[in-house]
């Protein structure tokens, strides 16, 4: 398969990534969110694998594998369990209503593309045009963390942000060294466990997963 097809395919996957990010912004149910997160991980893993194939960067295969295992299997499974155990699969009430969030998201995407333009011209990779999408994913995930008020959605937002960062690294410089990526993956796992345990603790203390109640912890 010639390189042009590879690029087309990577661009398609990148567009999918962005689409999923928007879908996550508008998704109200937590189980749906987790599914979307798993799909985002799958798209990311596939994109990375194609980059590895087309450029011959073998360490990216490991990254792709790691992403597949962690973000498509382990983490969604963990989240499903968490949602079930905590019984929080209710409607998530966003702080800002969803249409407004989508509009802000569009503004962020435009901003991210503008931002990425000068950088992507400097980058020497085949897939530099996708850098804007990667940054947009980071910003959209951040926005999701801001607008949602349940602890689990924040954790998912955090993980999605990590997806975006990973994609940005791949598209700008063919990914970080493997050691760094392993370290990041470990960090993410630990963050996941800590946040998972904390979610239980939050529910124990406040009888709810809503972070609004944490306001009462503020020092007067």
């Amino acid at each position: 398969m010639p390189l042009a097809y590879h690029l087309q395919f990577i661009n398609l996957l990148a567009a999918l990534l962005l689409l999923i990010a928007f879908a996550m912004l508008s998704q109200r149910r937590i189980v749906g969110l987790v599914t979307l997160f798993a799909w985002q991980g799958a798209a990311l893993s596939l994109a990375t694998a194609i980059v590895a194939w087309s450029t011959g960067q073998h360490h990216l295969y490991y990254s792709a594998g790691l992403t597949l295992v962690l973000k498509v299997m382990v983490m969604p499974w963990f989240f499903y369990r968490l949602v079930k155990r905590l019984d929080v699969n209710r409607e998530v009430e966003p702080m800002i209503n969803i249409p407004t969030t989508m509009l802000i998201g569009i503004a962020l995407v435009i901003f991210a593309f503008n931002l990425a333009m000068p950088i992507s011209q400097m980058a020497g990779t085949v897939m530099r045009s996708t850098l804007g999408i990667a940054m947009a994913c980071v910003l959209l995930s951040f926005l999701m963390m801001i607008t949602r008020s349940k602890a689990i959605t924040q954790v998912i937002g955090f993980m999605a942000m990590e997806n975006g960062l990973f994609f940005a690294a791949t598209s700008a410089t063919y990914g970080m060294p493997l050691v760094v990526e392993m370290g990041v993956a470990l960090d993410v796992m630990i963050a996941l466990f800590v946040l998972g345990i904390m979610s239980f603790q939050i529910r124990e203390s406040f009888d709810s997963m809503d972070l609004k109640h944490m306001e009462s912890l503020k020092e007067r």
């Binding site: 702080m95 901003f111 503008n114 931002l115 000068p118 910003l139 951040f142 926005l143 963390m145 801001i146 607008t147 008020s149 924040q154 972070l211 609004k212 944490m214 306001e215 009462s216 912890l217 503020k218 020092e219």
Partner: protein, 670 residues
């Protein structure tokens, strides 16, 4: 072995002395069980260390400059040490004063519990080591480390009785101002290294700063060292910290630690900076005079004896700083000989103050232990109960009041001589203004004498104002010995000024490249020319003694010679009792009346028909309310404003990060 010993420079001996003190301090931690070992072994050994350091100081004054690089410190950043005449002089000052104070401390701390005493012993020796380290340091890093060791250990010494809330707040104030000053010094060294990242003093000496940056460094140094020295308006910690600290600690802090600031100021201004400007001197002179007058006025109205001495320390630092300013003025004007004279006066007064203020602080410690109070209003007549303390204190009091033939007179006389020689300056304004400054110094000296009459008179003379005083006890032998050493220092420094000046000469030569010409001989001190002014303390002493003897003989022989005993200060009234004597408050009343605009006076006077009248009066520093409280309020307000950002919503915090991220992204892509 002898080869090794002779190959050691004075600087090696000096840091060996520092290590010895550190070792003693940490050894004390293992003696937590035994109070007698701590007081009877560790403190005497510490005193020997002080004597050793003084000896190293003498050796350093005589020997050429010696340097050493210690293998301790951060990687690639070892401690550089250097012992030149300036360091050596201050080491001599430290060792001399610390010996007397430490010997005194043997007796003073005898009644403390062993556990706290062990900790105090550690801090005490760390404090001594820190001060010696400051004087030896030859790079900014070592200097700041030693400076902080000194500041922190003295903080813990001040808060020895930390279960008393007032002492905790006094300690906090001290720590706060010490650190504001330390930050300023850090910035000063940052300017001094000239942007090359080399922080050794040897490099700073060679760095060529522009007048602007040199002035910035000087101002930062003046602020930083001024905060440590007690320059108005950074003086507020002294009257709080000195009464809070145990007396030997107050003696060291006032006598020696304040001098480290003077040392640092001299080091930075004359040694490290490549240029000096005349206005720096004028500024230091003005600040010094304000400090001297402010200090002495407040000293006059105090009724707590240690607070009085703390204010008196502020006054003395003011005089030293005025001398520093005058030295700078002469130096920049090209009058090397006059700069040498002023610098001699400065250094002389520094060592004098170390001895007489050390003596007075430890004697207040004895009085405090004997009477259990610091309030002079409850004392009186102690000269008959504790004669040793009283007579030794009298020497210190006369010395600080500038009475010949004691040491305080010599340095103040030298300084006034320098002031009287200013008409030679090329700057017309300074020419006209400085005689006024001389008048201010003279007034500060006169008021200091007034303060000391009050101090001695109210505590030791008259009749006991409290019957409990009759059970007061005299100082123990180590205490007496320490006081005798310090008093002997006052007497000897006063009687042999020509010899002292030859000791100071290497320092003066180092800084001004001049030596003070003594036009007299070994007996006669004549700093400029013998025709102009000269002073011979030994002859003066002989004349005083002869006159005293003749008067005594005359009174006993040719006058009626009858002996009649009566109560002191009863002024011939048979109904006079102790409560009718002039009190500490009464003594300060005229001064308070004249200078009321600097003070906030709070008074509660009793009703005339009150059967049990209670009088309460306090004279407070107005600067506290004018300067410090607004700063505190502003800080509180600003933090309350910053506190509004804290909502407690995690979403808000995320938004803050998000906004920052967006802002930074926009900022970097511009």
């Amino acid at each position: 072995m002898t080869n090794l010993l002779t190959s050691l420079d004075p600087v090696d001996w000096a840091w060996a002395g520092i290590l010895y003190w550190l070792g003693l301090g940490f050894a004390a931690l293992f003696l937590q069980r035994s109070r007698s070992l701590l007081t009877n072994l560790v403190f005497p050994l510490g005193a020997l260390g002080a004597l050793f350091i003084a000896g190293v100081g003498v050796a350093g004054l005589l020997a050429p400059v010696s340097t050493s690089v210690l293998p301790i410190g951060l990687p690639d950043l070892p401690f550089h040490l250097r012992l030149d005449a300036l360091s050596a002089f201050f080491l001599l000052l430290l060792g001399g004063a610390a010996f007397g104070v430490t010997v005194y401390a043997i007796g003073y701390f005898r009644h403390m519990e062993a556990g706290p005493l062990a900790v105090l012993t550690l801090w005490y020796h760390l404090f001594l080591a820190g001060m010696a380290g400051v004087m030896l340091a030859d790079d900014a890093y070592a200097f700041m480390v030693c400076w902080e060791v000194m500041a922190l250990s003295s903080y813990f010494l001040v808060t020895t009785d930390h279960d008393i809330p007032d002492i905790r707040s006094a300690g906090f104030l001290y720590l706060l101002i010490a650190h504001v000053g330390a930050v300023s010094l850090l910035l000063c060294f940052g300017v001094l290294q000239g942007g090359h990242g080399n922080y050794t003093f040897g490099y700073m000496r060679g760095a060529a700063l522009t007048p602007f940056w040199a002035s910035a460094a000087y101002l930062l140094a003046l602020f930083g060292f001024g905060a440590k020295a007690g320059l108005v308006p950074m003086h507020v910690w002294l009257p709080e910290a000195h009464p809070a600290a145990p007396s030997p600690v107050s003696a060291l802090m006032s006598g020696v630690m304040l001098k480290t600031a003077i040392y640092g100021l001299l080091r930075v201004t004359f040694d490290l900076l490549n240029i000096q400007l005349a206005w720096w001197g004028a500024l230091a002179l003005a600040l010094g005079l304000v400090t001297a007058l402010y200090g002495v006025i407040f000293a006059a109205v105090q009724s707590d004896m240690k607070r009085l001495l703390a204010w008196s320390s502020i006054e003395n630092i003011g005089i030293i700083l005025a001398a520093f300013g005058l030295t700078l003025i002469f130096y920049t004007d090209g009058k090397g000989a006059l700069a040498a004279l002023t610098l001699t006066a400065l250094l002389y007064h520094s060592i004098n103050h170390a001895f007489f203020k050390g003596l007075l602080f430890v004697s207040t410690g004895t009085v405090l232990h004997a009477t259990g109070t610091r309030l002079m209003g409850q004392m009186g007549g102690l000269i008959r109960i504790m004669p040793w303390t009283a007579w030794l204190t009298l020497i210190g009091v006369l010395a600080i009041a500038g009475i010949p033939p004691l040491n305080g007179f010599v340095s103040e006389w030298l300084l006034l001589q320098a002031f009287l020689l200013t008409p030679g300056l090329t700057q017309p304004y300074l020419n006209m203004v400085i005689p006024v400054a001389a008048a201010a110094v003279a007034m500060a000296a006169a008021l200091a004498a007034y303060v000391m009459v009050k101090f001695f008179g109210v505590i030791f003379l008259g009749q006991p104002r409290d019957p409990a005083l009759l059970h007061a006890h005299e100082a123990s032998w180590p205490q007496r010995l320490g006081m005798v050493w310090l008093a002997a220092g006052c007497v000897l420094l006063g009687l042999f000024p020509t010899q002292v000046i030859t000791w100071i000469a290497p320092v003066v030569r180092l800084i001004t490249n001049q030596r003070l010409v003594n036009d007299g001989n070994w007996l006669l001190l004549a700093p400029v020319s013998a025709e102009r002014a000269s002073y011979a303390p030994l002859i003066f002493l002989v004349v005083v003694l002869v006159v005293l003897l003749l008067t005594f003989i005359w009174v006993r022989r040719t006058y009626h010679g009858r002996l009649r005993r009566s109560d002191p200060w009863d002024c011939g009234y048979p109904e006079q009792d102790a409560r009718m004597q002039d009190s500490a408050q009464g003594f300060g009343q005229p001064i308070r009346h004249i200078f009321v605009s600097f003070m906030r006076v709070e008074r509660e006077t009793p009703d005339p028909f009150d059967r049990q009248p209670q009088y309460h009066g306090a004279t407070l520093d107005k600067l506290w309310f004018v300067l410090y409280e607004p700063i505190a309020r502003l800080t509180n307000w600003l933090s309350a404003q910053a506190g509004r950002l804290q909502h407690g919503h995690i979403q808000w915090y995320l938004t803050y990060s998000f906004m920052t991220l967006i802002f930074l992204l926009v900022f970097v892509t511009r």
